[in-house]
């Protein structure tokens, strides 16, 4: 029993890191463009599907780590230019547009990829004995990739000029634009980056989940929970909340069924909303 708790906790932790990566993309888009990207989960789903496609055409999984985030960047930029930018003045309609986008993505995947869930074989294929169980090394690798991507994201945000611009726009849009920052380009890159992170998350998660056109619908609420609990627009808080939530859910799962664990975390979440609507890690953003 204690072994099981540890294993499930580790699994939760790894899943939480992947969710953190995706939720950070959601959070940065929210912080800068002021829209809730309802299609974010579907970008994640497209990432898993593209990973599956790359494997089945080239036979090489690792290629997906290179190609898919690039496609994500391009796709995100195209979406920002074609869909988001023309209606940037009405955030509520932008969200509805994102929902339309999510329908288009799902149905396109269903039309091309098919409706039946598929699985990707463990690309490393080596297991290590962990507390009497054979544990896939790939899961540890996935965690490492997620951590690396999150660290790279924060480094980009804090150490590069463009990242500083992004933080400036997030903090005070009007002033930043008045000071002459290229807001158009910043918004474009932000959306591309967020999408790219979701699709990278998709590649990382593809071998440990099933690949299906409805996948995004499960992941999106998890990201929402992380973003709400972490405090909207609070990036480190979002990442911490994602990891914490999945970790706690993993531990609860070892005592009861997964659905009960999910219900418990959703109830916790509602309580947090009642008590602290601005999130538990909320600190004044200004």
């Amino acid at each position: 029993m204690p072994e099981l708790v540890v294993i499930l906790a580790i699994n939760g932790l790894i899943w939480g890191l992947i969710i953190a990566l995706i939720a950070l993309g959601l959070s940065i888009i929210f912080g800068l463009l002021d829209i809730v990207n309802v299609a974010h989960g579907d970008f994640f789903m497209v990432g898993t599907v593209l990973a599956w496609t790359v494997i089945s055409y080239t036979g090489n999984f690792w290629l997906a780590f290179l190609i898919v985030p690039l496609i994500g960047m391009l796709l995100g930029c195209a979406v920002e230019r074609l869909v988001i930018k023309p209606i940037e003045n009405s955030p509520a309609l932008s969200i509805v547009a994102c929902f339309g986008l999510s329908l288009i993505l799902q149905e396109t995947v269903r039309a091309t990829f098919g409706a039946t869930p598929k699985r990707i074989l463990d690309p490393i294929g080596i297991t290590i004995p962990l507390l009497g169980l054979n544990y896939q090394i790939y899961r540890l690798f996935a965690a490492a990739v997620a951590i690396a991507a999150i660290v790279a994201f924060f480094l980009f945000l804090h150490k590069t000029k463009f990242g500083t611009w992004m933080r400036a726009v997030r903090q005070d849009r009007e002033t930043a634009i008045a000071l002459g920052l290229p807001s158009d380009r910043i918004f474009l890159v932000t959306f591309g980056l967020g999408t790219s992170m979701a699709m990278l998350g998709g590649v990382v998660a593809a071998p440990i989940t099933s690949v299906e056109f409805r996948l995004g619908l499960d992941v999106l609420p998890l990201c929402f929970m992380a973003v709400i609990i972490g405090g909207m627009g609070n990036l480190p808080g979002t990442a911490a909340a994602a990891v914490l939530l999945a970790f706690i859910e993993g531990i609860i799962t070892s005592f009861t069924e997964p659905t009960t664990a999910r219900i418990i975390s959703l109830v916790i979440m509602s309580v947090v909303l009642l008590v602290r609507p601005e999130g538990i890690f909320a600190r004044r953003r200004t």
């Binding site: 809730v36 509520a92 309609l93 509805v96 929970m225 709400i228 909207m232 659905t259 219900i263």
Partner: protein
């Protein structure tokens, strides 16, 4: 289809509806709807009635969003709660059709009171996220099988008999599609009329004031959260009412009606039709269901087309198809 003031002298609200549809338009529409079932085959009558039911569902979203400024993805929960309340009324309490419809509305409102309390306390985009998460919570609970002690077998139970509509001494049976059609359309019209009165009442105007400028509304002494909450609960009641009408018409209820993607359907239909009015959602629903009916034979993934049209509508005609049409009519009518 719309209740409209006979003397259309209220252009100040900016609702072009009042200016556009004179009394005759309404009468013509009513006559058309009365005659329609005699012109189409049996199957189509139920289909038209179905458009009205889903249109009412989309309208419940349009009220919350168009008049209250709240982008709610929880409408499906209330639609489902309506189905559930309907089943509870029918099977558990043994009510007749009227009682079951009333218990559906009450069930939806009971769901909406706590949900609305949480959701209307938060602002802006949080509202959307909160409604999505609460919908997920409700669906997860109902899906998990733990609801059996909570809700009994009434969530997914479908009608096993042909419903009757008792009216005084006579009683009409849904066995006839005519009865199903007229009952549904008249019930929907009643709900639309009530909603029209509501959004044009001082209460509705107060909500418009909140939507347009919350700080100002607060300063003139409106209890913003309470008003939004009341509006949310009323719209939930309308969604539950449409759920009951659906359970009657289709004799089928399902867990998936609770899922937030069904709310998304309402959002899509309402936005395509136009949310600034009550008639727009019906237009959008008719568009959606007709294209589902006639396009999906040729193009399985017609939803892709709907998504693209949604994007085009948002981009080029934010007031929806009905808004486009009305604007076109008006441009021909300048005095």
């Amino acid at each position: 289809m719309k209740a409209v003031p006979v003397a259309s002298s209220a252009p100040s609200l900016g609702v072009w509806l009042a200016r556009f549809t004179p009394g005759q338009g309404f009468v013509l529409l009513a006559v058309f709807l009365l005659v329609l079932p005699w012109l189409v085959p049996n199957y189509q009558r139920v289909f038209v009635a179905e458009i009205f039911v889903w249109g009412l569902f989309a309208m419940s979203f349009a009220i919350v969003f168009g008049y209250g400024g709240m982008l709610s993805f929880a409408q499906a929960v209330f639609f489902g709660a309506g189905c559930y309340g309907f089943n509870l009324g029918t099977f558990y309490f043994g009510f007749n059709t009227w009682g079951a419809v009333i218990s559906a509305v009450i069930a939806a409102m009971l769901f909406a009171i706590p949900i609305g309390y949480i959701a209307t306390r938060v602002r802006h985009h949080h509202f959307l996220i909160v409604t999505v998460i609460i919908s997920v919570l409700v669906t997860t609970i109902l899906d998990s099988g733990h609801w059996k002690w909570l809700a009994g077998p009434y969530v997914t139970r479908s009608l096993t008999f042909v419903p009757e509509v008792p009216l005084g001494i006579v009683s009409f049976s849904f066995f006839s599609e005519m009865v199903a059609y007229y009952f549904t359309v008249i019930m929907v019209m009643l709900a639309v009329a009530v909603s029209w009165l509501l959004v044009h009442s001082p209460f509705g105007r107060a909500l418009l004031a909140i939507r347009d400028n919350e700080t100002r509304a607060k300063l003139i002494g409106l209890n913003v959260n309470r008003l939004r909450w009341i509006m949310f609960v009323i719209a939930a009641g309308i969604a539950g009412y449409s759920g009951a009408l659906f359970a009657l018409l289709a004799r089928f209820t399902n867990l998936e009606f609770f899922h937030w993607t069904y709310s998304g359907k309402a959002v899509v239909m309402a936005i395509i039709g136009g949310v600034g009015t009550l008639i727009g959602p019906f237009v959008g629903t008719a568009f959606y269901l007709l294209s589902n009916e006639y396009l999906s034979q040729f193009f399985q993934q017609f939803v892709i087309g709907v998504g693209i049209i949604l994007l085009l509508v948002i981009r080029y005609a934010p007031e929806g198809l009905w808004g486009l049409f009305a604007g076109w009519v008006r441009s021909h009518r300048s005095p």
